[in-house]
Subunit: 452 residues, 2 copies
């Protein structure tokens, strides 16, 4: 149990709650959906990340005395609303795409079914998580495919907010990265951690040789030596002289990488160090990773471009009220799903200007061809997936929270491992053209809306 | 006192520490500098933000039993290094640019003077904060100048990690924004909070009129009504009918804003609501804000572009070892500044490939002309600013931490208010061409390095 997450939200969520409690609409049973109108940076597919974090943050979304006191002192809501917040526990149902799943425009990656009151105040927090985490995972997945089987390490902690760094490491791991530099991601989420030394370590010592000897003494010859502080070729020579034939790897963090990698490989081989690996970490992104495909590089470390979503640091997710049961309740009670006597679901949507949404509950299916390759994202509006469709498709919605009870298989380290495995499995469904790197493309499969 | 921040760091900081403690170099007195090689997105000036947060995070950088246990279980460092970490308190000196100050390429915005051991392990955390916070502040400052005196509110919490959202609200406020939607930024940093209602509130109700009546009942007629859920003109009409002449403001969140603002203004005036303000919040950035300068808009809400640094979400700050006292100490003691008998400062710098740095301590001055306008960023290398220069310039370095003791004037709510005031003051020194919005420019003043 972490500290309260209840104020990591926009003020208007609470003022809406305040007014809705007063007029009786707070108890209306509502459906909120999280989806993206388009993919980050016009890519061909997106990768859902953040679900496990969202579930834990909702668990910690509690208004304790410190939060209530601040709201009271700042006159944010009425006293009766503070009483309601003091008792707040999410008691509704949350379903959606499994973490690690692919998504496309309109995919309902999360559906929150609860009273208006209970659901509306989660909007900001849920979007903060999905917009950042899914942006990183979507970028990471492209880097993984560009690396064509060579391992990738996430090293971007210093290029994003200190807590976002942990989320980025987690998201990248789900999308197929092998490790992270970030220790908190290791502790909180079980992501393998890695790292040996920076240029400062070499500069601290009187000579590069002193630094290498110290590192090998502390970490063993299997360590990775950073050889580009002064002269790369001399650094490679020295690394082998100090660590011997069992030198684990050398790291290059600057320079003209394709040429440099080739010359370092030749140098290492000439010295007999054919098993010493080469890792590169210099401002890489999916394009420079792909450009190194023909070189004898062994692994990659990726920083800035990964934690900034490679050009699209917010995934464009929105949280929309798509339906409510107009007749359900008129009191200020928070109970969700008090079905008896409730009216029909009424789809609702904003309809001015450009940002038109499609109302109603979306029930998602990924249609697959005979080879198991994805051909369409099919969203049934207010109706279940027909049985016949399930024969050549995969229903995408899972229940994460039922009547307020979180399914813990989706949280913690276990949730991360499950998400990583799920992602590895479902990316096999992508058609080959999904892995084209060029910008400005179309989603690799269309989104089809089906209504009765 | 918050929870420990000690694992919000890269593994290699600790493995370097481990090796340096073993070989005796850990105690060498070192100078680390934080600077940017270039400005975010080729802009004309940058704005420092994050200093106060950094100081508080360093205060909480402690290795308690949970952190030590995890490091032990994962075999990150040797047992003797764990003992050293258990006792870790930063005992060195930190100086730099005041928060809210302008910066340019090479400006030493933070200088950490301590043993190698004490300083190296802060690198990742310090950079995470400055790279994100300064990116947001630098973008925010451009929006403030584009708004030409009209107030701006930060509303981007949902478009960045949930903790970065709080940092973004704080950074924007320092750079001149008037308020934020983020409640935690209000609680933690004293940023004024604002917000009334979203489209979901209108959609929840049976009619737009029901929603408006409810909001006015709860918040009074001085509230801001969101009028673009269905038809803007009808929404404006209805808002006035419901709230009357004392309607505070209407908000537009979509559509062709310049035309829409003009027509809504005309409609409000025709209805006699000449005092009702118009606020706009639709995917704004500094360019669209500037494009609205000639319209009768009264205030702006900015989200995505602000919290993503308007195209440059990481400010490109680095943390470099620039000098050490080679002769100082050879034991594994952590004491910084044990001056007696120590050798001369030795400037150090990486010198391979493209990322060459300039070694030695930089002592910064902003040279001003007779009118008080900035003309150069002057960095004296390893020497003090000459007295004569101080007559037409401003020394930029302040001490934030002396021998481990944090100057609390720079932390908390007080630190934020001081930073905001400082920024408002120093931006007056900028030459007029600093406010040009076009991309691809040069820093508005040159950075000059002066060495003896």
């Amino acid at each position: 149990m972490g500290s309260s997450t209840a104020l990591l939200t926009d003020r208007y969520e609470l003022t809406m709650l305040d007014a809705a409690l007063a007029d009786g609409t707070a108890a209306r049973e509502c459906l909120f959906e999280v989806f993206a109108r388009s993919l980050p940076h016009d890519r061909r597919y997106g990768v859902v990340a953040g679900t496990g974090r969202v579930l834990e943050l909702i668990r910690d979304f509690r208004f304790g005395e410190p939060e209530l006191e601040w709201l009271r002192a700042n006159d944010v809501v009425r006293a009766s609303t503070l009483d309601w917040l003091a008792d707040y526990r999410f008691s509704g149902t949350i379903s959606g795409y499994r973490e690690g799943e692919l998504y496309f425009p309109g995919s309902p990656i999360l559906t929150v079914e609860s009273s208006f009151a209970e659901g509306v105040i989660l909007e900001t927090l849920i979007l903060s998580v999905f917009n950042y985490d899914s942006s990183v995972a979507s970028a990471a997945a492209r880097m993984v495919s560009a690396a064509a089987g060579r391992p990738l390490a996430e090293m971007g902690s210093r290029r994003t907010g200190e807590h976002s760094a942990v989320a980025a490491a987690r998201a990248a791991y789900i999308a197929g990265f092998a490790a992270t530099s970030n220790l908190e991601a290791g502790r909180s989420w079980g992501v393998p951690t890695m790292g040996t030394a920076a240029h400062a370590f070499t500069l601290l010592h009187d000579t590069e040789e002193d630094a290498f000897r110290s590192q090998v003494a502390a970490m063993g010859p299997g360590t990775t030596l950073l050889i580009d502080t002064f002269d790369v070729d001399a650094g490679a020579h020295l690394a082998v002289r100090v660590a011997g034939q069992s030198l684990g790897a050398v790291r290059l963090d600057s320079g003209d990488l394709p040429a440099l990698v080739a010359s370092v490989r030749a140098r290492l081989d000439a010295l007999g160090n054919t098993d010493t690996k080469i890792t590169v970490t210099s401002d890489l992104d999916e394009y420079t990773i792909a450009a190194l495909a023909a070189t004898p590089v062994d692994s990659y470390g990726v920083g800035t471009s990964l934690v900034t979503g490679s050009g699209s640091v917010a995934a464009g997710m929105v949280y929309k009220l798509v339906a409510h049961r107009a007749g359900a309740g008129s009191g200020a009670d928070s109970g969700a799903g008090s079905g008896a006597g409730a009216g029909e679901w009424m789809p609702v949507a904003k309809r001015s200007a450009k940002k038109t949404s499609i109302g109603g509950r979306k029930v998602p299916l990924r249609r697959l061809d005979a080879e198991g390759t994805a051909v369409a994202e099919v969203l049934y509006i207010d109706e279940p997936v027909p049985d016949a469709e399930l024969e050549h498709g995969r229903a995408l919605s899972e229940v994460f929270v039922r009547d307020g009870v979180i399914d813990e298989r989706y949280t913690g380290v276990r949730g991360v491992e499950a998400a990583r495995a799920h992602h590895a499995e479902v990316r096999e469904e992508l058609p080959a053209q999904a892995f084209r790197l060029a910008h400005g493309g179309e989603p690799v499969i269309p989104t089809e809306y089906v209504s009765a």
